[in-house]
Symmetry: C2
Subunit: 428 residues, 2 copies
């Protein structure tokens, strides 16, 4: 009989990051009736099973009518193994053009199994030697640190500061890394309504960040799952839209803007890469080689469903998501107003005021840890996320993250009452 321990297995399995994700999911599963200020998933109001059939049929019509495919070719496209880098790249490129003002060659795109695989492939490609490191604005998404851990790529934190990224801290970190012989491959950023901080970068900061990436010669990994969900202001240009030096690898998600259940994301990697034989290929092509050994290709059926959704919306998910955007914005306003009603200005409880996205960060004058979360779930029927999970070390010990994405207006009020009770209990 076999006898194994986790110590026999890959070190990442004993890592805090991976355990963290599991713990948070497990807690959410254990208290299904608690108010879900912890959830990061999109709202469920717009799900209709018939949509799947309609999207699939619409994509097949497009293959026949716009692409001129015969019936056997349509079937082959949907049913067979497909090209590694995807079958809907043309539609993804149109979507980027319409919604983000980003113009890219479809050949620079790899359609992936959600944004997570886009991240994983990029990190696997960039991690070439032991000295390689990645920067990431801290606090950061646990999926990024987890993927980095799996490819043995250390992540060095850069402070968020007041501008969404503290560029001075970034320069200090880069220099300190280089002094110890490390090679900085890139910096992971979420310029719009970051998870978990809710912070955004202004346009000037975005431009300066691009300048730093150029002068210091590394890549920016831009992750943009929440960009469409602003609270009413003008949207700012993505880094990729401002990128003239091909410094930005753009990580795209359709989980929040189309359908989480198809697991379709993408990466734009238009960086030229010279091969040993002297040819110039794209980074996307290199990522495709890695993808062929991880998942072979993204399900063409899943791609077809997203393709159909894009076709149904003239490739504008911004327009298609206007209703849900307004709902998230309303929830955000309600959450911020509700916090203000319950916690007086100048008091010990403070919070930020994100201009969009799913998340608000609340700072309290007592330690916030997993034990407090379990207590909150059991005694107050309230779930949220300890911010310390997003620091992968020290940081966030007095902060919690509240999400507005799946709760109703009534649940926001009930949840904030529960939060006020929890805070009163701790303070008194």
């Amino acid at each position: 009989m076999i006898d194994m321990t986790t110590a026999d297995l890959n070190g990442a399995l004993e890592d805090a990051g991976l355990a963290s994700m599991n713990f948070l999911n497990e807690i959410a599963g254990r208290y299904p009736d608690a108010i879900a200020f912890a959830a990061g998933r999109p709202a469920e109001t717009d799900f209709r099973l018939d949509d799947l059939h309609e999207h699939l049929d619409r994509y097949c019509r497009y293959l026949r009518e716009e692409r001129g495919l015969g019936e056997a070719e349509v079937q082959r496209t949907i049913f067979q193994y497909g090209p590694t880098n995807g079958v809907i790249r043309e539609l993804v490129a149109r979507n980027l053009h319409v919604d983000e003002g980003i113009t890219v060659d479809p050949e620079s795109i790899v359609v992936t199994v959600g944004c997570q695989e886009a991240m994983f492939l990029t990190l696997r490609a960039l991690r070439a030697r032991e000295a390689d490191v990645l920067l990431a604005v801290a606090p950061t998404y646990v999926g990024l640190t987890g993927a980095a851990r799996l490819v043995d790529l250390p992540v060095l934190p850069v402070a968020t500061g007041t501008a969404g990224i503290d560029l001075d801290d970034m320069m200090r970190t880069v220099r300190a890394a280089r002094r110890t012989g490390l090679r900085v491959r890139g910096c992971y950023v979420m310029p719009d309504f970051a998870n978990p901080s809710g912070a955004s970068m202004d346009t000037d900061t975005r431009k300066r960040l691009l300048d730093v990436a150029e002068s210091e010669d590394f890549l920016l990994l831009e992750d943009n799952p929440y960009g469409l969900f602003h609270t009413g202001q003008d949207r700012l240009p993505t880094l990729k839209a401002l990128d003239h030096g091909r410094r930005v690898v753009y990580l795209g998600s359709y989980a929040k803007t189309a359908l989480p259940g198809v697991r379709v994301g993408y990466v734009v990697a238009d960086q030229p890469v010279r091969t040993r034989s002297g040819e110039t290929r794209s980074l996307a092509e290199q990522l495709g080689k890695i993808k062929s050994m991880v998942t072979v290709n993204t399900s063409p059926v899943a791609q077809a469903i997203v393709g159909g959704k894009l076709l149904a919306t003239d490739c504008s998910l911004a327009a298609a998501n206007e209703g849900i955007r307004a709902r998230y914005a309303d929830n955000m306003a309600r959450m911020l107003a509700g916090l203000a009603r319950r916690f007086p200005a100048g008091g010990p409880v403070t919070w930020n005021a994100p201009a969009g996205g799913f998340f608000v960060v609340v700072t309290v004058p007592f330690p916030v840890d997993d034990e407090l979360l379990v207590h909150s779930a059991e005694q107050h029927r309230l779930l949220w996320t300890p911010m310390s999970h997003f620091y992968g070390g020290t940081g966030g010990e007095h902060q919690l993250r509240l999400s507005v994405s799946v709760v109703t207006p009534a649940e926001i009020e009930t949840g904030l009452d529960a939060l006020a009770a929890l805070v009163a209990e701790r303070l008194g």
Copy 2:
């Protein structure tokens, strides 16, 4: 402007294995009208777009009627992010019970993005230290060697011999590895109609292989994409069905037996793993932790389609595939008879006689390389695969692999005429 070379990126990208896969795909794409003896994909006769709708609807009915889910829960199951390890594990377990006589707890299963991800997750988990190595019967599937390369796990070849695996060679390889301080984590095998060799192991060899894994304390990674496609003999038990010591990690594919285009596979990993805190969990749970950082979860929509297909067939894909099995068997018989008619016994051209699967290996008295393949495609309109691609070093230099999976009886005759012309040209 960025300036990168492949040398700046992960070393796997300059590896022969990854280049190999790309080259073979590229050649197939360049000569779409050539006879496809190179293809490894399943036949396309049974594809109907309506099936996708029906499978999806059937799975939703099952959730409502058999699982008692309300409409909101059905929608959440299909549309939202789902549990990392999958939503159709219960049906996969039933399928394994019905078709393979394997009884496993659904909790031991992780539903993956095709069998490739199953392989990748397993290798990532097993590779803990620099000294770790994997054994694999050579010649072997390029997806295995590619995935191993991505996780920096060297693969040591074990000879196929006459029994599908040469156990003496295996023992020699294990001992030699240990003498140099290496730790053997497992051995990758395809006991039924292997890709690319077509070889199968008899039952006695399977049992002895399990004994060796037990006495030498490593795992067997059993990959079984072709098991249902025998040519008429009784099917032999899988290693997993014979496994009493939890030595076998079973890698499952639905690409050939259900639908390639949904990219759904799975891994059975019922090995107990003791954690640092002294609890016993399953290897499946550990693989799930890794999966959460690679693809988060397998598309529930894709899983639902496979689930519907399983429900439609009472979870017996063996029964559902009887028609296509007979077709492959007929093609195999035709291919073997066609070879015998064109190349006289006792002559310089020889081949094996697989008892199932997609592939026949032909040995010729001249070098078989990529250059010859290009010549064959251009001058003879015939595609096949140089066996050297499956050795990752030396081996197979006089062999080519012929596939029977997507060709018609007429194409088999035309293709073999072309092969005979190519051989005559080389010999004369």
